[in-house]
Amino acid sequence: MQPGPIRDADLQAWVDDRLEPERRAVVEAWLAEQPERAAALARQRRANERLRAAYAHVLREPVPDRLTQARPRGAVSPGLRRIAAAVALLLVGGVAGWVVRDHVATRPTLESELVRPAAFAHTVYLPEVRHPVEVTADQEQHLVAWLSKRLGSPLRAPSLAASGWQLVGGRLLPAGPGPAAQFMYEERGGNRLTLFIRHNPGSREATAFRFAEEGEFSVFYWVDGPLAYALTGKMSREALLPIAELVYAGLNP
C-alpha cells in the first residue's frame, strides 16, 4: 500500500504526464522524499519516450495498397455463407434447391480458377531438371514479350534477386480454355518458386493478398486489374510472404 494519499494510479499518471498541475505538485513533493522510487519512475518516463520515438516512423510510411484497398469481410466466412445459402434454398425449393446447390458447388472461384491450376503447374514443373522452362532467363526480353502477347496484357517478370531468387525462365500454360504464364525462380540451394499469371477470372478489380495451402505448398494469390497472380512455393507462409510482397512491388514499380 502507498503511504499517504498517493496511489499507484497517481504514479502511472505521473509517468504518462497526465496529472492536473495541482495533483502533479503533490505527487512530486511526495517523490522528492522517495529518491529510489523517483529514480525508478524517471527511468520509466524515459522508456516511455523511447517507445514513442522508436515507432514514430511508422506513421510517416506510405500505407501499403493492400490496406487502403481492404474489403469488408462478413461476420460469417464466405464458405459458411455459401453453405448456409445452399441449405436455405434446399429447404425452400426441393428439386429447385438441388439444382441451385449444384450450381453453387461448381461455381468458379479464385481457388478453382487460379490457386489450383497454379499449384498443379508448380507440382508438374518443379522437379524438372532438364526442361524446367520453355524459354530461359537469358532470353528474358523475348520471354516476357512472347507471354505478354499470348495473354494479351503486358506482363513483367519481377526481379527477386534482392531476396536471393534468380529467374530461371518461363512457359506458356493452359488455364481452362485460355492461356496462362508461369515464371520460375530458383534459389542457390535449388528451391524453386513459380509465379502463375492468368486473366482475371472474376469480376473483382483487385483483391488483397490471400493465402492458401495446397498440399505441402503455400500459395499467395491476388487479383490486380486484368490479371490474376499466384505465387507458389514449398515453404511456410511466413517465408513466402516477404517474397510475395517483393513480387507485388516488382509488378507495380
Partner: protein
Amino acid sequence: MTPVRGLIVEQIPRLRRYARALTGDQSRADDLVQDCLERALGRTRLWKPGTNIRAWLFTIMHNLFVNDLRRNKGGLRSLDDATLAQQESADGDGLAAMELRDIDRALAQLTPEHREVLLLVAVEQLTYQEAADALGIPVGTVMSRLARGRARLAEVLEDGPGRGLRRVK
C-alpha cells in the same frame, strides 16, 4: 466509399504503428491490420457513430491478436535471426535502426497482456478508460498491468541490449 470507410481508412497509420510495436515485425503487423480492417469494414453497423472509432478498431485488433496468439502459441512474436537480420538491414540511419531493434527486443520480453496495455497508453495515447474498453478489462487491471509492464520494460532497457539478445537466441 461510405463515410465510415473514410473514418476507418484514416486510422490505418496508427493501427499499423500499434501492430508493428505489438508484433515486432512489419509484415505480420500489416497482416493483422488487414484482418482488422476487413472485419471492421464488414461490421460497420456495430460501430456507434459519435463514439471513438480508434478504440473500436483497437478492440477488433485486440481480439484478432489474442486469437493469433492462441493459434500459434506466442509465435507471433518470435524474433528469429531472419527477422533480426531484416531489421539490421532496414533503411534509415544506423542509430535509429539500432534503437528500434533494442526496443523491439525489450518489448519481446513483456507478456502480450503487458505489451498491449503499455503500447495503447504510452504510444497510442489512449486514456486509461479507453484502453480498458479496448481490451475489455477494468481500469484497475489496466493500471496494474501498466505498472508491471513499465517496470519490466525499464529494467530490460537499462540492462542494455546484450541480455535481450542472449534470451532471443
